[in-house]
Amino acid sequence: MSTESGTFLDQFPAEAKVVRTAFYSSFVALFVGALMGILQVLHRTDVLRIVDSADYYSLLTLHAVLLVLSFSVFFLVGIFTWAVTTSLDRGLQDLRYTWAWYGLMALGTLLAGIAVLGAFIPGLDMSAAVLYTFYAPLQAHPFYYLGLALFIVGTWLAGLDWFRSWWAWKKDNPDERIPLPTFMALTTTLFWILSSAGVAVSVLAFLLPWSLGIIDQVNALLTRTLFWYFGHAVVYFWLMPAYLLWYTMLPKISGGKLFSDPLARVVFVLFLILSTPTGIHHQYLDPGIAEGFKFIAMVNTMFLLLPSLLTAFTVVASMEHGARQRGGSGLFGWLRALPWRDPVFTGMALAGLMFAAAGFSGMINAGMNINYLVHNTWWVVGHFHLTVGTAVALTFMAATYWFLPQLTGKAIWSKSLGLVQVLVWFVGMTFMSNSMHRQGLIGVPRRTAEPQYSGFDYEVAVGSMAELNMQVIIGGTLLFISTLLFLTVVVMTVIGDKVDGLPDNGYADTLSGPEDAPLVLDNLKLWAGIAALLVILAYSLPLAAIITRGGILGPGGSPSPQFVDTLLFVGRVAADTVGGVIA
């Protein structure tokens, strides 16, 4: 940690500008995305339909892409840049390079946004209503794919930026353990590069050439599988900065120390090796993938519960330590001593609480048999509004109340309003996600502009459809209000005057530090190698089967180009030879 006291702005003014810009970009995305969200709520429930139902899917695409990619990832790169800079106590290697990756991400977002919004401009032959899950057969304007590709390349370069900082630091500190925040950023970067390679192949090799008319068709199942290869790991990409904040900020704000640095490292290593070979659990209902592969994906997914449970234990233990340092006592009485008045603490704590609920609904999604009950229903939407929509988004908003003074040198305009904002979000999400889960259980579909059908009534287990819809409307409205409150506090803070006496930059100390962690945990090459191996084991056979059956460019027939046939032939000959020798 820096020996120089002061805010992050005092210590690293140039890096603070980068982080600030990334945060502001994410807040713009949050506003537009939230606006699309409330419009969808009102449209689906038939309260207000200001666009044609055919255009609903453009709103849905914009809502999803802006919130789960732009809002979350712009915030993420800001957090990780802060984490690496602060914990290594050194600036980034080359700020021109840093601004270049930020520029790529911004340009990518702009291109993808233009492609989606083009649908609303009469006479413009542009549309990208392909949703966030942008696999074939839905096709978008090339700008959409190009924008997403630039955005992802930008994040890779950002990851390389953090690695460059670490490599430079390592030269000066060859015998030091990797500081925990940097360790978290680096492990996350590794699995992000590994997992997003799948969607990069899908976009660059298939979807973009297809959209440009260079190739006539694609193998839809292949693009789906490559998307989900990335599509589940990206969930952990959003979640890891939230975990970083729970591990490194929440204990400090609670008044204590992180319970265990080694456990935190184990958690991030587990996410590195387990995040990617799980994506096929999104494809349980895809007929083109054998059940055995799906079963393997289910087992891998269930293993992912372990790092989340370790996190729940470590973070709650750290909070309890903090509360007891503040004078709390008793079996549960220590809870009263926590700083509930502070929106940073309360927002993160409530986000963690909702994440626990999300874990339960996630287990339903992950179970191969029970998933069939909720697949493609509104249940799934309710689930991910608890994960990315609360565990991640609420943590980010709460963290903003700590980061904004660090980045601007200005005090938060109203912490009381901040507290109200995080509480309103929690209540709004309770109403909305509860109703989404319950509607999903009775078969109400997701991705549907008008889920009302003539001559058919859903069999609601408790209450009525009208009540469930009212719950969604109340919840969605509260969430939109909460977003506006958040942005109001941000804007009023930013336009305020600089003040003295702000807290120093820093993060939580540890009760059990890195000296207690086995050295092997810092061996990033080893864990990256194991992660790659697990991916090969989980995906090589399903991908080979999909290509063999459907053709690399589909549909059907022999895989093409010819080298795939050749590779498969050579593989068979080799296997037969080895089999013969063994026999």
């Binding site: 503040r326 009485g333 009263r336 609920a357 929690f426 209540v427 509860n434 287990a461 408790v462």
Partner: protein
Amino acid sequence: MRVSRAGLLVAIVIMVPIIVELRTVVVHLGFDVSLAETALFGAMMIGALVLWAMAPDIRGREPNGE
């Protein structure tokens, strides 16, 4: 007060999902509860929580979460 005002506010907010889910649970146990009855029961639960929070701590402890 047994808890700080902010702590009480957070406790009330945390009761919201409990009240919402409780209705589902009791209906599955065979008790048909209307929306109005749920709201009334929720108000009673929150009222009881507020009364508990406002009462002085019998061991004389002060909330220190502010």
